[in-house]
Symmetry: C2
Subunit: 327 residues, 2 copies
DNA sequence: TTGAAAGCGCTAACAG
DNA sequence: CTGTTAGCGCTTTCAA
């Protein structure tokens, strides 16, 4: 048995293809009676419209492209998971592509999205992507793009990312509130803009509150470096701040190695996606920067873009503190 | 400037659409000269074939559907990541769908894949999926399906999953080799077939080697339950086995709470995807069951299916032990 | 070696 | 209210 098409339905009902087409989509021109007949038969025969014919005709698909540096990441995982739900609920599918943090592959992926005539693209750019102006001109008319998380610096485009300043400020305030006096603060690679933003806000918060805490700032580009840094820096500290999950993991290894008790001997607070902090006992207190909320915002922005009703905008998502027992 | 189509190229070169089409795909009928001319212009104008027209014509797409219970999972994450690479290298795109472990949504997702005329479907079924015979008849001709990880029990279909028996056997052998005498073994929910398989193989290995170790078997359906179980069961144990990452996390929390030293006071071994064990110090020794290898196998099986050269097959992927310092 | 023509399944302007 | 018609961009027979 072959595919059920509009033509087949039309023939069976002695109607024209266009009438059937219109009946199926509740076009007001069609009489209630005809509409009913058509819909009934369609249901019985399990008619499913041919997506490709529709796409060819309308020149766009109900698909969105998603390009990330890597899928293996708590953050992107939560983002994609959340985005998939939104998409499904709205009748869209998601095509997932990873760039491996390589600008060349990123460009290929963009092209691919264009070839697939996606309705829009969500992208978190690579560390080395410095000019996205060509991305924004992709397609005719240009395909809507929503940048998220790792967003380009200068271009006027839709950006949705974590409010790094707010997150770091919250963490600093928590440490001040707990009257910590000797703080080890471990940040990521100091070349990254995310590090710079978080560090600046962290620092300024202590100044703003006239805190007298001694703060030792360290940088670590990996979990292993964070471990090394913590092994040295934890001595005498009554609290440690970790800028990211990656760093938290290294620091926690050091704490375990040194046999320090949390929170009595040392307090811990991190900025995190929320999964890693639950792996420890007591659970780590953290400032949440998960992809879930970001995905919801990004998706509704995208829908607005597709509908043509969007203005260019940069959105920052504020975090909340999730209390564990570590501070 | 609008899209470049075959017709446009044809007009510019004073050729017919069909000649251009053939030239572009190196059809032997076309003269070298014409072929060159066509390809050159195509390159200059950055011609890109319209995917939807091709799909409509050929009635299938270069897309695969991937359906999983949830994207948020180390295992599926590694699987999808690996699959995406394979797919991209072979000119395919991936449509990712999650079922939320709900058979109804799973079915909807399958329908969706069919509507998108995917070339094939990779699926890890929900815990409640008990009849996949309808899945196998989806489409005309039926869409190739490769089941992975959580595979249906009885149907004759392509299945690719972790060799649970082998993994549990390796873990048991490691414990025996280390001459552990008092082993706490924490398994998952005893209704799950994965638990039953791992438990049986674990048990039988100790019998096979005439081990005199005392083994206390516990079941835990969640990280929290694993924590509770370990808090009681760790007393007097010189080693603990964790059937999964979920359980490992709970057990490690208990070990931290009790302040036990690894590996001196208690040895730890787990079956794991490989990420979680690196979060601790010393790193946990584990039997690897990651999605990477599975994805590569699944993909090549799928390619064979698409090419029509596949026979139905059940594949089991053997694990390897990764030494940390925990045993 | 190339071209003409039909048609994949659908939509939408236009005509009745 | 319904039908006719043209065509989206491509592939593929068939004919020249």
């Amino acid at each position: 048995m072959s595919e059920v098409t509009l033509k087949k339905l039309a023939d069976m009902l002695n109607l024209s293809v266009s009438t059937v087409s219109r009946a199926l989509k509740d076009h007001p021109d069609i009489s209630a009676e005809t509409r009913l007949k058509v819909k009934e038969l369609a249901l019985i025969l399990d008619y499913e419209p041919n997506t490709y014919a529709i796409n060819l005709r309308t020149n766009h698909s109900k698909e969105f492209g998603v390009i990330v540096p890597a899928i293996v990441s708590d953050f992107y995982q939560s983002f994609i998971s959340s985005l998939e739900e939104e998409a499904r609920l709205n009748g869209y599918s998601l095509i997932i592509l990873q760039s491996g943090d390589d600008p060349l592959i990123e460009l290929q992926n963009l092209k691919r999205c264009k070839q697939n005539r996606v309705s829009g693209i969500f992208i978190s750019v690579t560390a080395k992507t410095n000019d996205v102006s060509s991305y924004l001109k992709l397609g005719e008319p240009p395909i809507p793009i929503v940048f998220f998380d790792k967003v380009p610096a200068y271009e006027a485009c839709n950006k949705i990312c974590v409010d790094d300043i707010h997150a770091a400020t919250l963490a600093a305030e928590a440490l001040i509130l707990k009257k910590k006096k000797n703080i080890l603060a471990v940040f990521g690679n100091d070349q990254l803009s995310i590090t710079q933003k978080r560090l600046k806000a962290f620092d300024e918060t202590f100044i703003k509150y006239n805190s007298e805490a001694a703060i030792a700032i360290y940088h670590a580009s990996s979990t292993n470096e964070a471990f090394d840094v913590a092994m040295k820096g934890l001595d005498g500290a009554d609290a440690v701040f970790c800028m990211s999950d990656e760093i938290l993991i290294g620091v926690m290894k050091a704490i375990q190695t040194l046999g320090l008790k949390i929170p009595n001997q040392v307090g811990v607070i991190a900025i995190s996606g929320g999964l890693i902090p639950t792996f420890y006992y007591p659970q780590i207190t953290y400032i949440e920067t998960s992809g879930f909320k970001l995905a919801k915002m990004a998706f509704s922005k995208m829908l607005a873009c597709v509908a043509g009703s969007a203005y260019i905008q940069e959105l920052k998502i504020e975090s909340v503190m999730v209390e564990g027992g570590s501070l």
